[in-house]
Symmetry: C2
């Protein structure tokens, strides 16, 4: 997106990323969870927040249900608004990463181009994690009853049913949340953080 | 602003504010600097970030020049866009405060109603700091040459010249950046944080 405001320079923060990382023992970054509805994004995000906090990390979850009360309360569910929703989440996650936090985001984020925007915002601090439970598994779980409503037409443009989910081509991590237990998924993610945020 | 998306519940974070505060030795919160152009907002914000970081705090500056490259890159300088700019900053600052950070924001934010929105977003974590250098002082300083351009009409609707600055009625702190030195201003703000974020 073009920057509308001209003649503006990004100011360097006096406190550097390196200083922040040294202080807290890890880098800031974005763990971008993506996957079908029902793949376990929010559940794992909040459980991982608990895990990483208990392991001494600075960590914070941003998820759709949360952000739509505040920053994105002006957005609905049109195609345009969904894209803007993901754009803002990507920017806020990047800001948080710059502040030294491990930001865990839990959004379906079905489009590659939107996820690519979030990756651009955070640069090399971006870690895409594909929770790859299959449509069959997610629809059988249907924790919120949304698949049923989507099949009946009550919910239009529902990802996986009547709107596409574009599978990540090169995610930093893929976790099959359809076959692994929650505990196994959490361990994989925690190990990933230990290995990559040092 | 009305919430467009219905049937959404704010999820409770498993990690509480209290746990975060206990871990890092201080509460999260928002230090909302407001004042005329040239009052010293960005200068003091970044210098305070340095100070507070060196004192062991989790702290991060958000200022206009920075955010307009990312989150708010779709916004210009129309009245509507300025209001939306401040709304988003208020929401992101509130989120950061929820993550345990001391978010320092440096925006003119000339309208009471906009600042009230930012206060609502952060609740009792919001601390309004009025940098109250007078128009005369700020215009004499004119660090960016903007007042001169505003007087000549080259910049329209410039706060203090051709657009209003609504003075905070009950800021948590007022600092006359026209008469105090930078060092004095920083000491006042640091003392305020030590007294109120414990």
């Amino acid at each position: 997106m073009a920057i509308k405001s001209k003649n503006i320079q990004a100011i360097r923060h006096p406190v550097t990323d390196q200083e922040r990382a040294l202080r807290q023992g890890h880098q800031g970054g974005v763990l971008w969870l993506t996957g079908l509805p029902g793949a376990g994004k929010s559940t794992l995000a909040f459980a991982l927040e608990r895990r990483l906090f208990d392991a001494g990390k600075q960590v914070y979850v941003m998820d759709g249900d949360n952000l739509r009360h505040g920053l994105n309360s002006d957005l609905g569910f049109s195609q345009e608004d969904r894209t803007e929703n993901i754009r803002r989440v990507g920017e806020v996650a990047a800001l948080s990463a710059g502040a030294g936090i491990i930001a865990i985001t839990a959004f379906i984020s079905p489009y590659r181009v939107d996820r690519a925007g979030a990756r651009r915002a955070a640069g090399d601090k971006f870690h895409e994690i594909h929770l790859s439970a299959t449509l069959k598994v997610c629809e059988e779980r249907d924790p919120k009853g949304h698949y049923k409503k989507a099949r009946s037409g009550e919910i239009p443009e529902f990802t996986g049913v009547s709107a596409p989910y574009e599978i990540p081509e090169k995610p930093e991590l893929e976790i099959n949340t359809g076959t692994l237990s929650e505990e196994e998924c959490l361990s994989i993610m925690e190990d990933y953080v230990e290995a990559n945020f040092g």
